[in-house]
């Protein structure tokens, strides 16, 4: 399962989501503005106070938009 932790107005979050859609990768969006639980989880995963964070299978993650890392993680 691919999860994208994001907020509503973040251009890098939009870029990540657009990229995943362009590659037909299904993902769950977790808007940390709307859920304190997601916010805590996002911080716990990366240790950074930053979005977007994309996780694969709940452990491996990519901070911001990093095409090379996303491709490697998702096998694209």
């Amino acid at each position: 399962m691919v999860k994208v932790y994001s907020i509503t107005t973040c251009p890098w979050c939009e870029k990540v989501k657009k990229y995943l859609k362009s590659k037909n990768v299904e993902f769950e969006e977790h808007n940390i503005e709307l859920s304190e639980e997601d916010r805590e989880e996002c911080y716990k995963i990366s240790g950074d106070l930053i979005v977007p964070v994309t996780t694969v299978n709940g452990k491996d993650f990519v901070v911001s938009f990093d095409k090379a890392k996303l491709d490697a993680l998702l096998g694209l």
């Binding site: 107005t9 973040c10 251009p11 939009e14 990366s46 106070l49 979005v51």
Partner: protein, 311 residues
């Protein structure tokens, strides 16, 4: 596997206001146009929360404005690709070569509209606290500092606009700048009226401290020389921009700051290569002047292509 070779009339490097305006004009002239963007469509304005000085809009978010320009350009046939990073260019020959991760593009004209990147905080601790207290995207990361103390570094329009935006999250906001503010009076006045905001002029951040994430900064008052440790949870850095011209070094003439030397006609030293927007040496860098450059570059590119194909 060898990369596919594709031909275009015009390749535009950079999908900010200059690049997308050039794409809109070139598309309307029935030229085949591809815009390549390595970072964010919109460039610097992708992060702008409210633009109040672009004619035709009382106030508009940068992302909304640029999305409309992109749609306009695409409606006239221009393509925009933000997921195929450029690896190298050869602009000295004809056709020009732009090699991306996925393709080799050949084009008779290249318009460089690659804009500027935000300057990083020039402190050795920057890397340690990047994403953990030091940030470069207010729209993305501002939310992480709900009811926290936020500092914004810088004194130009981008800094003061960022400070105004971040007051919606901060319990207390410090605008820290090494000299006097250069931002528009309207933005300055708005910040001065905000009870959460304190403006610290002639002040510099000397060092960052914190266990795992930022907790305090040492600031120095440049007038008195007095140092002080101040509790700050997050810093948003807006201390200027640097031209995004690394790809073109050794090919296109630049000034000592890395900006491309081109006049009001946007022509560079290389035939068929134009520079538009903030990346070009010029006095005024605004969205409106970027749009003007994009217009000029596209129209003169079309003239260049017509003459070249008549010869």
């Amino acid at each position: 596997m060898a990369k596919e070779i594709k031909k275009k009339d015009i390749i535009i490097i950079g999908a900010g206001m200059a690049g997308l305006t050039a794409a809109l004009y070139a598309g309307r002239m029935n030229l085949s146009v591809l815009v390549l963007e390595n970072a964010l469509v919109g460039g610097q304005i992708a992060n702008a929360t409210g633009i109040e000085n672009y004619p035709g809009h009382k106030v508009i978010a940068g992302g909304d404005l640029i999305a409309t320009v992109q749609q306009q350009a695409e409606s006239f046939g221009a393509e925009v690709d933000e997921f195929d990073p450029i690896e190298r260019v050869d602009l000295t020959k004809s056709p020009k070569i732009v090699e991306t991760e996925g393709c080799i593009y050949e084009a008779d004209v290249v318009i460089i509209a690659s804009g500027m990147n935000r300057r990083k905080l020039p402190l050795p601790e920057e890397a340690k606290y990047a994403g953990r207290g030091v940030h470069y995207c207010e729209l993305c990361d501002g939310h992480m500092y709900q009811d926290k103390v936020i500092a914004v570094m810088g004194g130009g329009n981008a800094a003061v606009d960022a400070a105004n935006f971040l007051t919606k999250y901060a319990s207390k906001l410090l605008l820290i700048h090494r000299s006097q503010l250069k931002a528009d009076t309207v933005s300055q006045e708005r910040l001065k009226k905000n009870e959460k905001a304190t403006i610290c002029l002639n002040t510099e951040i000397e060092s960052l401290h914190g266990d795992g994430k930022l907790e305090t900064v040492t600031v120095i008052d440049k007038t008195t020389g007095q140092e002080q440790e101040v509790a700050v949870d997050g810093i948003f850095v807006n201390i200027g921009v640097i031209p995004n011209t690394e790809l073109f070094k050794g090919q296109v003439e630049m000034d000592e700051n890395g900006r491309i030397i081109a006049g009001e006609d946007c022509r560079t030293n290389l035939p068929g290569v134009f520079a538009a927007g903030d990346v070009r040496v010029k006095e005024i860098r605004q969205l409106t002047t970027a749009a003007a450059d994009g217009t000029t570059a596209a129209l003169l590119a079309e003239q260049y292509l017509s003459r070249m194909r008549q010869e």
